[in-house]
Symmetry: C2
Subunit: 212 residues, 2 copies
Amino acid sequence: MNPAMSKKTGAKAPRRGRPAMSDAKKEEMKALIAKTAQQLFNEEGYAEISMRRLAQEIGCTPMTLYNYYGGKLDVLQTLWGSVFDDLFRALDALHPEKDPAKYLTTLSTAYVQYWLQHTDHYRLVFMAEGVTQPEVSIFLDNPDIIARFMIFGDALSNASKHGLDQDQLKLKLDLLICVLHGIAHNHITISGYPWSSPDDLVRVAIDGLLAA
Amino acid sequence: MNPAMSKKTGAKAPRRGRPAMSDAKKEEMKALIAKTAQQLFNEEGYAEISMRRLAQEIGCTPMTLYNYYGGKLDVLQTLWGSVFDDLFRALDALHPEKDPAKYLTTLSTAYVQYWLQHTDHYRLVFMAEGVTQPEVSIFLDNPDIIARFMIFGDALSNASKHGLDQDQLKLKLDLLICVLHGIAHNHITISGYPWSSPDDLVRVAIDGLLAA
DNA sequence: CTATTTAAATATACGCGTATAATATATATG
DNA sequence: CATATATATTATACGCGTATATTTAAATAG
């Protein structure tokens, strides 16, 4: 709570003391922190970069970071949010086609290609060391994230020839996401192996899913 | 490596210096550490108990613990091993019956009952805070642990009327373990809800699995 | 009994994330 | 221009797990 603000009773009279940082300035600082953190986390790994190191790179002291973020994990979760924003912005840009099955395939292919073309993002989100399961769950429980995956649910529902009840839809959606991740994960982490084309793998997976 | 031992070239001649602690003494100390840790971890949670606190309870200094264990996580993983020893000792004591399906049900019921009767063990193994996924995976990748779950694989194979190939067996085994854990987990963590009898739930699950 | 040697235990130190206290800065007031 | 005040930043401190250095203990040699 800001007592000075409450004293003002809404009137913007001048008042003493150092003025609070403007929202624009705050966002600028948060963005700088996030950008520097992403760069360092990508280069050297989340666990390897300390708050002291991050602050040093930015040119402030460690405790300054806590004015803008709740803590080290908060910085990482913010980067996760940015990555998902980026990803879903790309997916939302795909226009639904006449053929629902074709659109689902296009969407799924784009999802896998996003991770293949942004392996840094993939490692940051799915392979950060020293992160506990509850820390991941808290992030994923955000209704925003779950809602965004419904673009796949909607596409899947439209592409299914038979009506799917909610349980069936959820099962197939879960399976779809698992398969797409499997394709992306294997191509990224076992890249030396001569995998089938990711686009082909996605197509076969969608065909099988719709036929099931 | 122990250079003094290598100097002796196998002959047990007296030699200078403080003698190494006997294996029996070492095991005694390891057991004391494990027992005290289990008690404290059960009472207050793994993350809440520091190595300093554990040492204090035992009556030594923190660095002494490192003579017997690789670190804090090593202590926890040793406790996990003890719990699985206890569990599988109970399961191995069950004699296979003439009816393979009945034996599978008995075995599965015993598995669930073990966790229900040892909720402390369940929380220690499955609900320790501050443990990362790789730390769990390293423990579970131990061939001993995986091999011990094959008692269920064998029972399931014997109880199946149709021959199962390896993929089918693995799928059903994975499903069985997931279901049994679901039963145990819900009874332990949502214990206020009036669940159906765990024995009944196990029976229905096995019937369904064998009929699939 | 003293000196030497080896192992066990302890003391000290380190960097970590972050809590708390102190200082610097940017404003208004007189 | 000096003072007062509110905020932003920095300095200091804490407990953590654990690396490293030092001390203590337990033995043998002479």
